[in-house]
Point group: D2
Chain length 335, copies 4
């Protein structure tokens, strides 16, 4: 492992520390590795060491390069300074991807508490988007963020369909950052068709980091420490993992449905297609809204794709291809 | 194990099946056992066997008695028939608690999909409340419930501070019951100070039950099956578990804060106490809203108790007792 | 689930209890299920209920049919009575395989303590061999077995290459059945090329069964309860598991090497081939015993197959097929 | 984390690399940390990087300091050079324990393959004994060790009651170092009353290190990677762990029975006490060898302590203390 600390902004005391692992040789077919960029919390007043290296070790063990960002704090943190710090860090990692052997399209940001606010801003507002975001007991709501940094923006308003996949965890009894922050975030991710996973553990105070007992963790329910391994298998589901030949394709990936593609397609939800007049006409024949026997519930139409309906109905390959071609040829209407 | 099926309502084909385990003798100090009442899903059109016995086995192994409710369906399901079925079942279990060796204050309901709607109604509306509820990809929202059973009520509106602790799980890509149902539920539980744990797994279609591959599960992310063991340790946290002397006290329990007690107390949140004029006066001295140096964030006041603040500040035992006595003596105002 | 108890031998109070799960219908492509036959312990003096149904629940949840054998005890246990009881039970299960929907070549026996002795005898001596054996803190050595049942045989002497795959677990601090019993067994399995997995947990008294705290377990290290899930994934590795199309092929299977096949083959170990004169001649050219540079360690020749050596050496397909044909044509010598 | 590489022996290219974590400050009550000394494998021909840092990360995450020893190889490895390298490394760690904040009585050695041979020699032969040893697919038998380094000693012959607790893991299908090496070791540990835990996983080739897929692992059964977390909880059981006040006492510790204490005591096994003439006389009254009803099996007497027998029999505290005093006053005979 090569460890190095880069000063990103001397006046604001911003640094990026890299933990780079070897590739090739004994490490088989790996010519590059995915990476995590860790953003510790601390209320924009300090950067907690408890949420820095102990987190990095988990991802290093799993085969990732790790980076830790120490960003602008206190009076130097006037927005958008911290976001600029993040962008500078991510930009530097991607600019050096070749020499550092980083897979530049497989970089996740991991933030905790106020660092979770910054990581969520990276995921929603930045010019250097991460490919996935892992957010631990994050500050999300504008009023909560403002309590720590008056100029800090609300995250919810910035969530849109370009937000990267998010893994959100928190404890229900967080006694500093209300768990509502996490709930509001997943609600927004849901409304905007963004991929996510979320774990809200029943009991534990604020700031539990990895949940390891060596970090002075107390009053923490036994499920909490699972987020670490779960976030790693989730990352592999979203961005791909490893096998003996190198990096693998994602098992699931970030796409929830086809509604945001340029063209109408079979992965669009039934409800979305019904909102498009040409497609609606087509659907009125394929899936009548009112029919004899059991019909598709209205609520299900919002989440099921036309492709799934056709597959269930046993449509043959030619029929499916023909319908797909019809959809692709339609003019997409802006809702 | 003694297995028996009781007909609760012949006209509506309602049955309760019991799976009772032995107590005493080789089972040490156990004189009674906690129990689960399982409510399978099926859109109020059928009761799925995939969400019945395979679920029971997990809790039987963990030491619980298990019960399965098969409730009113289709035209017999006019509300509140299913809820009455539940109440009859739970009433029967509690009435027989002594002879069946059931710990009648440690009975959790477990419901899936439409059965999750019924279990959530049990948790929020019934006259025979369960002590905890485990809700798998539940139907919650009124419009979604209405898609399956037009007379079925909205759950969100019924959540209040008397709702029992809930363990909610779902998959983000549920293609039948939108995951929003689960999100709206935990949001409501949060707003009403109800204890909960929630897991929303990134990928998996509707109806995954325990996630065991013998149930024909497909396209399911690797974290999903964890809900089973996690719900068991959560149940023990909320209602108590087992040791070699018998049943144990809960580690955490259902109470989130002291705001809903009859008297003001040290477990009330700072924000709640500030909303009470007499207590607010007291707090203005103890925790000035504006002070030199770092003050308590407004958002944190909603989730931190006065007792925790005093403990962090190093207040001595006598001071704490005196403050407690003052609080207890105050008239509680209705907000 | 259909539960039924069959009296196998009234005079000796021998019973077989079945827990049969449904197939087909909602259970997808399953037309039959694998099964476990559980043999509780109790020093041939009683059959412990703690090692009966609580164990069955774990395998029922995983999709297996379960059976529990209560065998001859005390003065009725004169050997080979218990083994005959087992054979009668296994014979009955296989005879009814069709109507009970049992996959008759996927039946594992699970025995604990003295029941582990009987299960190990089933695996090594019986006329109705199980397809795999799971042995918990088993009695194995003749002198130990004799302490409980004077006529009970030593298991070690009966281990040979026809012994089925075994999963052996115990605690190092077992205070009743010395852990040496398990060690001697895996040593014998190793010497006879039998597939096995073993877990010896550092701390825990005798009789921990599944390790669930509802069974009055004390002083048990946290790893112990893992044997349950581990034995299930191991069973699937050995005998095959489930997917959405039904039963799957084993991932690894029971065969350790090709030494016990009728013909010499590429899966034979190098050491075994060197012990066969015709093959030894062939190997003297392929893998010279003494050569320049790094040679294959003698100890490794006992465990590596010729096929693996050729693959590592980059031999081409034609060469490999030609060598295989040569081996197949050789007369196998009895050592 | 502070990383530094010390040259221990320039002529032999021996180095010790340290990965030191911070104490105090944000790390609560920790004033020192336990440590692991990792010894990679490579047949005494090289030191594998796959068995070095990726292993360290797991223990660093858990709160341990980590060290990696790169020892004498090939012609420089004439025995006892590698053992001297180890002793120099462990000596250096203990000499610097104060300034490096190492808990010098909580240092485990972790070795793989040939490094497992060296670690096992450290545990059995060295003048600087580790407090625990974790041995992965180790070379143990003299003939196997000799295949890699002709002067390397047999480990089995060196096992005695002063050997530290060992955690031994391997795969049954190891195709380079026969699994018999691990079996012979745990057999010897058992015979000499040494604490151990052992996991032999059914399937996997040699050299799987942590089992992470980023290390090019193939054909490995799903249980294998569990050794990492299991070895950490085992270490805490043996040497103590962490809580919010700092380091904790071991839950179980290394002592298997009282047979090797200076004085006879209640933790001695019944069999051992029977081998001591004075104690045997006492036992003939307390636990008659032949008695009416069920007597204690001879095999059990080898593993059960007198103290446990008395506790089960319900002896009162005074009686127990009196017996203890009697035992303590007896002259211990050398067998």
């Amino acid at each position: 492992m090569r460890t190095e600390t880069f000063v990103l902004n001397e006046a604001r005391s911003v640094t990026l520390t890299s933990y780079l692992q070897p590739v090739g040789g004994e490490f088989g077919a790996l010519t590059k590795r995915p990476a995590v960029l860790i953003i510790p919390g601390g209320g924009y007043h300090f950067c907690s060491d408890r949420e820095a290296e102990p987190v990095a070790y988990a991802y290093l063990k799993a085969g990732y390069h790790a980076f830790i960002l120490r960003y602008s704090l206190n009076e130097k943190a006037e927005w958008p300074n911290p976001l600029c710090d993040y962008e500078q860090a991510m930009g530097m990692i991607r600019a050096n991807a070749k020499s550092w052997h980083v897979a530049s399209d497989r970089i996740a940001v991991i933030g905790f508490s106020a660092g979770g606010h910054l990581a969520a801003c990276a995921a929603t507002m930045s010019k250097e988007r991460p490919n996935a975001a892992i957010l631990g007991y994050p500050v999300i709501d504008g009023d909560c963020a403002g309590d720590y940094l008056p100029s800090a923006p609300d995250v919810i308003a910035a969530v849109d369909e370009f937000t990267c996949p998010c893994f959100v965890f928190a404890t229900r009894t967080d006694n500093l950052v209300p768990v509502g922050n996490s709930i509001h975030l997943i609600d927004a991710l849901c409304r905007h068709d963004v991929a996510f996973e979320s774990h809200i553990y029943s009991n534990g105070p604020h700031g539990l980091t990895t949940g390891d007992d060596s970090l002075g963790v107390q009053d923490c329910c036994s499920r909490y420490p699972h987020w670490v391994d779960d976030s790693i298998t989730w990352l592999k589901d979203m961005l791909g993992g490893f096998d003996s030949n190198g990096l693998t394709a994602p098992r699931f990936g970030a796409i929830i449905n086809g509604n945001h593609e340029e063209k109408l397609n079979l992965n669009c939800t039934v409800a979305y297609l019904r909102s498009q007049s040409a497609a609606a006409e087509l659907l009125s024949h394929l899936i009548p809204e009112k029919q004899e026997g059991m019909s598709l519930p209205k609520s299900a139409e919002k989440v099921i794709s036309l492709g799934q309906i056709l597959a269930w109905g046993g449509a043959d390959e030619n029929t499916i291809r023909a319908i797909e071609a019809q959809l692709m040829s339609m003019q997409k209407e802006v809702n």
